[in-house]
Symmetry: C2
Subunit: 206 residues, 2 copies
């Protein structure tokens, strides 16, 4: 079992590499991340990275796969919440914000995926496809039941997605608007977005 190598801390080397790669891909971007820089940050030689992940692209795929799984687990969990339509939407949004507070890199990667071409983005989207399908069906069912205003479910999903990701990852814009990326600000943004979504979605305002 290659869990410990005898000198480093408890985390295995490939896991540490994935962590660092995720962080760098999410913030600096895939192309702007060099294996050398990654290795330097890990206090390891570049060849160690290439030992575990034969190429940079393979590393990206690995980061994508692991992140997609983490995202799926977190969201599927909150999607399983019982209750009326809006409560479940709120639960999902809250869980995304929780994720953003704990692992901002994950959301950053999601954002970065949109920019990366078909090889990477397709893989990511494919991995999250079941989640999207579930969410889409849920929204449609709620509309049929009259709990939500009628919209094109997939476009609605895209709109919600964009808003949430934007509110969470547009750090520069936030700063320009006078919102420092603190925990307090995060809570305010969450309240704001929930308010907006409820107004837009729920049939009976009250």
């Amino acid at each position: 079992m290659p869990t410990s190598n005898g000198v480093t801390d408890g985390t295995s080397t490939p896991a540490r590499i994935l962590d660092a790669a995720l962080a760098s891909f999410a913030t600096r971007g895939y192309e702007a991340t060099s294996l050398d820089a990654l290795a330097a940050g890990l206090e390891v030689r570049k060849q160690t990275i290439l030992y575990w992940f034969p190429s940079k692209e393979v590393l990206l795929d690995a980061v994508i796969d692991r992140s997609a799984i983490e995202l799926s687990v977190a969201l599927e969990g909150s999607l399983a919440t019982a209750g009326t339509g809006w409560v479940r939407v709120e639960a999902v949004v809250r869980s995304v914000f929780r994720l953003a507070a704990r692992q901002p890199e994950l959301l950053g990667l999601v954002r970065e995926m949109g920019r990366l071409g078909p090889p990477a983005a397709t893989r990511f989207v494919a991995a999250l496809e079941p989640l999207v399908a579930r969410a889409s069906q849920f929204l449609e069912a709620e509309m049929d039941a009259g709990h939500m205003r009628r919209h094109e479910p997939r476009l609605l999903l895209l709109a919600i997605y964009s808003t949430v990701i934007g509110m969470l990852t547009e750090v520069e814009l936030l700063r320009a608007l006078g919102e420092e990326p603190t925990a307090r600000s995060l809570v305010r943004r969450r309240a704001e977005i929930l308010d907006l979504l409820r107004s837009a979605l729920v049939t009976v305002p009250s």
Copy 2:
């Protein structure tokens, strides 16, 4: 006057460089864009680019400045629309979509700005600051007048921005959702987003 060089088409060389750079920065990203590739696409040597723009970073700044001006002009124009609150919001959103149809690269650049660190993003945001201030004041005034639900104006602006940009630039996600980036789809997305925004913002649903 360096308007024509005798062989190329009517557009001046620096303008052509800016066009190509904008397109590439917006789609492939700044770091992933090489001066050589840019030059090859223009059928010009790389040194010609470096003659007009002494470094890649200067080129980026030039692209940013020009794009910020174009954006400002287009949006300030539609912000000047008369009418009640919602009509003006709708006018602005429509003009952004019009811009997206005519110059998708411009929106792509906006998206890319968020990812680029403080040197570039700050410049861009600073250039658009007056626009943001105007929009923010407008929203606040409309809320005071009771035409719109009360929200934090700057956060509301960020949410609208995120939604619109997302609906316009998340090409990969759109494709995964079965929405090919056609003109018809653009119209549907516009209708969807306007519907959502109206529900979320306007006080009297009716």
